[in-house]
Amino acid sequence: MDDQSKCLPGPLPGQPVLLETLLRVENVGKEFPMNDGANFAALRDFSLTIRNIENKPQIVSLLGPSGAGKTTALRIIAALERPTSGHVQITNGAEEKLRPVRVGDVGVVFQRYPLFEDLKVVDNLIKPAVSSGIPAKEAKEKALCFLDEFDLVRQGLAWPLQLSGGQRQRVAILQQLMQNRHFVILDEPFSGLDPVNIINVINLINRIAHQHTLNTFIIITHDVTSALAISDHIYLLGRERNEKGEPIAGSRVMKEYDLIAEGLAYRPDIEDLPRFAELRKEIRLTEFPRL
């Protein structure tokens, strides 16, 4: 790893230096046909921009209540679904221009962490990497390194069905990172976890993200506390309301929270800070009910 790709631990010493744009979602709309012939708008004018932060990875949360179109947004960013309007552009660093996103540019850690159940854990890491063009020797070395680093050595030759939930989650994330790419979306990674395990997952994502400054993790969640604890930016996804207070079809980014500017990003003691409690209260009690 070259020096430029290394991340600094802990909070940034001064103001963050924002470099090139890594991901741009512009005016994305998505409509689904309904049984009655009408269209259902899941997203409308959905836009967000993620820029490379010098010496830090990018950890962004898409926060919203159930039904806010988070999963649709995930699928469009990962190019698993085509938007009805708008576009998503991506780049792998300063050397490359922004270009339309393709399937495989963005890794996805799906809910319930699907793996290839017919492959042992180590093969779940090696085989997809090899099929994506990484030399077998390099893939094997990287896989063994990951297993060692993320406390999965003893599970290397186990079948995925023999893993605990936490182990499975780690393997699913590492499987995506084996591909020499920097973009990973995690779909509800805190869902169904107890508080201790939520802290473990936050630490894990932070640790993995901090392996490279270009690493960009987009977390899809409705868990306000965890989103605040892990992110540098939070985008609130939801629906606008008309004068009568009725929601307008199609979700979009309603509010952006820059946690670096708030002095909350990269702080292990974030939950002890008064601003953290204030923001959490604001999002939970004021913003969420409006979405």
Binding site: V103, G107, F110, P128, S131, L157, Q162, Q176
Partner: protein, 279 residues
């Protein structure tokens, strides 16, 4: 090496855990208790049989005597000969049907072949003996015709079950492979073929039972070579029910052995599938 050793140990421990902690809805049984229960139930069945409340059922002693008679009979009347003929037909027919059905089922992911798959599925409603004349025209009477009839008849059912297995692959699995960069044949093999193979063995095992029902019908229509079906037909016509039940018992034993064989194949080739079954 250290990683591999540690992983081996861990796999073993986890496998033991998954065996020990198997949870079934109404409780779980250890191997010892399970085998004892099987003995108890067989004992109860034999007891009922000895008292024989159903008059049409021959007594165990009569069936035993029928076994002796058939064992000592020569040539096409002999027990071993007829079991051999039918078993061979069963294995060959099942083998052909499995290969053809796997091909038709897996090709159903390609839109061009989907109508063929659907048509084969519809044909399962039509009794195979209805095609007797067609088979007679296409194949020589005897072995080739029996194999063709059994293969075709079983394929109708196998294609239906195997296509169901493919249809139940979760969308998430396809998408996982897509985001991991799988393409073309690798995508097809890794998502559609490889993970479904143990389930396909289950489907073959289930349909092997249907095969036995068909075999007896097919051998009744093609009696030239003998076989269990033709013998059951012959003994039924002459009201020798002891011989009929002797053959039915043999089919039962073969069925148990076949089931055991399929489980063994799964254990050897796809060990993870058994972990899934044990919960």
């Amino acid at each position: 090496m250290a990683i591999e050793n540690a992983a081996n140990k861990s796999t073993l421990n986890n496998a033991k855990d998954s065996l020990g902690e198997t949870v079934r809805v109404y409780g779980s049984l250890g191997a010892f208790a399970r085998s004892n229960l099987v003995i108890v139930w067989i004992g109860l069945l034999l007891l009922v049989w000895f008292f024989n409340p159903i008059k049409a059922l021959p007594f165990p002693g009569e069936v035993l005597q029928a076994f002796r008679r058939m064992w000592s009979a020569d040539g096409s009347q002999g027990l071993l000969y007829n079991v051999y003929v039918t078993l061979k037909l069963n294995i060959v027919g099942l083998g052909y049907a499995a290969i053809i059905s796997l091909a038709i089922a897996y090709l159903s992911v390609i839109p061009l072949f989907q109508p063929v798959n659907k048509m084969v599925q519809w044909l399962r409603y039509i009794p195979i003996v209805g095609f007797n004349l067609v088979f007679l025209t296409l194949f020589t009477i005897g072995w080739p015709m029996k194999v063709a009839m059994l293969t075709t008849g079983m394929s109708f059912f196998l294609v239906t079950s195997m296509t169901g297995v493919i249809a139940s692959i979760p969308r998430m699995k396809y998408e996982l492979a897509k985001v991991l960069g799988y393409k073309d044949w690798r995508f097809f093999y890794s998502v559609v073929v490889r993970p479904t193979l143990p389930l396909m063995i289950d489907m073959i095992a289930q349909n092997a039972a249907i095969g036995w029902v068909m075999i007896t019908a097919i051998e009744t229509y093609n009696r030239t070579e003998g076989g269990i079906g033709s013998q059951i037909y012959a003994y039924s016509s002459t009201n020798n029910l002891a011989e009929v039940y002797a053959y039915l018992l043999i089919i039962g034993v073969i069925a148990v052995l076949e089931d055991w064989g399929f489980t063994l194949i799964k254990r050897l080739m796809f060990p993870y599938s058994l972990i899934a079954e044990r919960g």
